[in-house]
Symmetry: C2
Subunit: 472 residues, 2 copies
């Protein structure tokens, strides 16, 4: 018995010894990555430029074209090994003239303008607008229960709030999100003439939050807007007092013909396995109401900063590291699909893709949409990150753009910043440079760079039980 | 061997079974605490009132008196079992007329006003001001090396920045803090006529950050100001070009006679152990440049919210739970000392004290200045908090106000919110209500309430190895 015990301990120590010294080397490198980024990181100034020089950048807009050129030039100036564009046709939705949403001649309130904004992809009412009664619902079930009889000819008002008791606000967004995405077509099935959706916001204020809606086939496309949370409460209250009030809606948005645009890609060539790719990415397009600072300027400058940091440190990666600035995440994912299509066409072996599309807040960990083997491997790296306040390495939740790579078996990882403030400003006029904190932004980039470094050094375990070890 | 094994497993299961069901009950209660606070919490609106109706509230000021009355009335309105004031004499420092800090007739720059603010407790120059050369140093050692010969008659400029590579900004604050606290007296030893300290700030901007300085006995008290980080860099650069430039400093601050003020205490009486106290606290005074929103309005409304939440849930505590709003944390700790003095005088058995004085940011854990036995016990509760994104339960770092209770053997605990943004605005004009996030603030209160609940239910293990179990 004792001999077996000693043998076991001996084997254990033999296994641990190189692991420990490797781990020390990793810890030192990660400390150097954080030092480089925190002391000399340029992500914050790059974000300022993207927000202030380019501004909001809806797919197909002149600003989106400017953003492409901005990204291309910046990565070229950094001297990455190659910088190139991937052409892709993207939808071209335009908001047009400012929207009008008005309670008309209510008994107590009189006429009152409310804070609304057209949903992305939505059709407009045109100059004649829509004048109709409003019916408030909270779920598709409630809508179905009302049926055509009580919905036809009316504006449907979806007013289910985000659940404040969810600790991860992304979960609350998920729970409330079908109202905005599917609500307009759902209401159209019963003959509604327009839709007002309570903003998907954790805040109580006067800012409406836009975001894309997706029209179903075979139902009429009807105009759809988001309303600020304060005004959703006001409208709901007024409807209780006066269920037959009239609402005037006027929007001038429309979908134009598709436009040629681009993903922007920069890369540092791998020395040992140049044909293995590790991708870091964010999306270059944004909504138009503000500057797309957190969504997803942060992801764009994070991704560029990863390569800048590695280059500034004279780190020569084994694998090829790519920063991908995806086009059209917000209303179509055309860039994401194009990137995945080209990766397949070109036979590129993508080891892992890491996306930052949850804001430039203090990072708390990574969401792992990976094989069990890779999951186990990444858990071993947790102690390296805990020093930097990253504690969450859970399954699930990578990112919309990289998810197109899923069918190719790519390990998908999403940066998980603190989520508390994100939906206060997401898709609203509040998403400007000034609300991004420099240190929080840089810490996100540091975390991504550290993970890229670890994957580059150690590879990722293959998704088969036999090889669920330490990779190479 | 096998029998022993079964016995061991059996004993283990017997120990675990009640612990698990207890833990389930605790988990349910904590979920209810979070729900109550996130859905119906009033901390955010209370903070708005403290910031906007009362405003900045330096010890001894009329605003501090208003804050006392504000706290007393609010806790009385909540119907806590008792609300009372603890009289305490506090220092009364006044800033007076706006300060002037000016580079005079520099060759390139000409005359240039810089952004400065007097340090708390500092003496003023009066209307004549001080005109002198400036000598820049980074450490007390550098200052000593220069010696009287090169310091006498000059203004000493302490320009060591906060270390950006520290992940916990509080650590960086600690490392740079002696310049502000001890710098003026240290410089006076060598005959300096004034001191300029680089603001203890993680940001690069134009806002000077005040904070208290502490004059030593037996050295002259000399005027002392903080300078914004941008202007510290400008002054440093200009000094390199022109070492003999003249600087004009004018401050009108002064220390007046002590003033009668108060700690404000509210409590809910314990049902089983009414003579055992659990304290939650923050400080009611603040600096005058802004509204003291994060520092420490957050701690004040956190503490009140703990009691409000428990009362709203009809929770009948076993122990007496006290919210203590301490007076004069910023420049004297007179309230903290008074509270500890009275606790001792009245023979009050304080089980634990939990302080919130690190801002209203998303909570990440608690700093534990507790016995080993209590430390082990609190570690058992970690899984209950991880669901809510609190991962850090480390030794050290409770809080300045409760530390006065240390000699009485009280277990001291500090709420640890995310630290990244705190020193961007700490003690500066930026610390206003608008920069506090509602959800982050409420999550801090929820975490404190949950910990209070656990300590109330289970007690805390006594600080002796024998009893390092689960308390009662």
């Amino acid at each position: 018995m004792k001999n077996y015990l000693y043998l076991t301990i001996g084997l254990l120590l033999m296994t641990l010894a190189p692991a420990l010294s490797q781990s020390e080397g990793d810890a030192t490198m990660i400390r150097e990555i954080y030092d480089e980024t925190l002391l000399r990181g340029e992500a914050y100034e790059n974000l300022r430029s993207l927000c202030k020089d380019v501004g909001g950048r809806v797919s197909g807009s002149p600003e989106a074209a400017a953003a492409v050129e901005w990204g291309r030039q910046l990565m070229q100036q950094y001297g990455f090994d190659s910088v190139f564009l991937q052409p892709v046709m993207v939808p071209h939705w335009v908001r047009g003239k400012k929207e009008v949403g008005r309670i008309v001649d209510a008994k107590k309130l009189g006429s009152q303008e409310l804070n609304i904004t057209a949903l992305g992809n939505a059709v407009g009412t045109g100059s004649d607008g829509v004048l109709a009664n409003v019916v408030e619902v909270h779920t598709f079930k409630e809508l179905a229960d009302l049926g055509e009889e009580r919905v036809k000819g009316k504006i449907v008002f979806f007013n289910r709030p985000m659940d404040q008791t969810q600790i991860q606000t992304g979960a609350a967004y998920g729970l409330a999100g079908n109202q905005r995405r599917g609500g307009p077509s759902e209401a159209a099935k019963y003959g509604a003439v327009g839709v007002i959706v309570r903003s998907l916001s954790t805040a109580f204020d006067d800012y409406p939050h836009t975001g894309s809606t997706v029209y179903s086939f075979n139902v009429p496309k009807i105009p759809a807007v988001a309303i600020s949370t304060n005004d959703a409460d006001l409208l709901s209250k007024t409807l209780k007092e006066e269920p037959d009030l009239s609402f005037y809606l006027e929007t001038h948005c429309q979908m134009l013909d598709d436009v040629l645009s681009y993903n922007v890609v920069g890369e540092i060539k791998g020395s040992t396995f140049p044909d293995e790719y590790i991708v870091v990415g964010g999306h270059l397009d944004s909504w138009d109401l503000a500057e797309g600072a957190h969504d997803d300027g942060a992801g764009v400058v994070h991704s560029i900063e990863v390569l800048r940091t590695l280059k500034a440190m004279d780190y020569q990666p084994k694998r090829t590291i790519r920063a991908v600035l995806f086009m059209n995440e917000e209303n179509g994912l055309a860039g994401a699909k194009k990137y995945a299509e080209l990766a397949e066409e070109n036979g590129e072996n993508h080891l892992a893709a890491i996306e930052s599309d949850a804001g430039g807040f203090a990072p708390r960990g990574f969401g792992l949409d990976v094989s069990d083997a890779a999951y186990e491997q990444i858990q071993q790296w947790k102690p390296l990150f805990e020093t930097y306040d990253l504690h969450k390495f859970n399954k699930g939740g990578s990112g919309a753009d990289i998810s197109a790579l899923k069918p190719q078996g790519v390990e998908l990882i999403g940066l998980r910043p603190d989520s508390q403030r994100y939906f206060d400003m997401h898709h609203s006029a509040l998403d400007v440079f000034e609300i991004v904190n420099r240190r929080e932004l840089l810490l996100g980039a540091s975390a991504m760079t550290s993970l890229v470094y670890l994957i580059d050094q150690h590879g990722l375990a293959e998704p088969s039980p036999a090889s669920a070890g330490t990779g190479e």
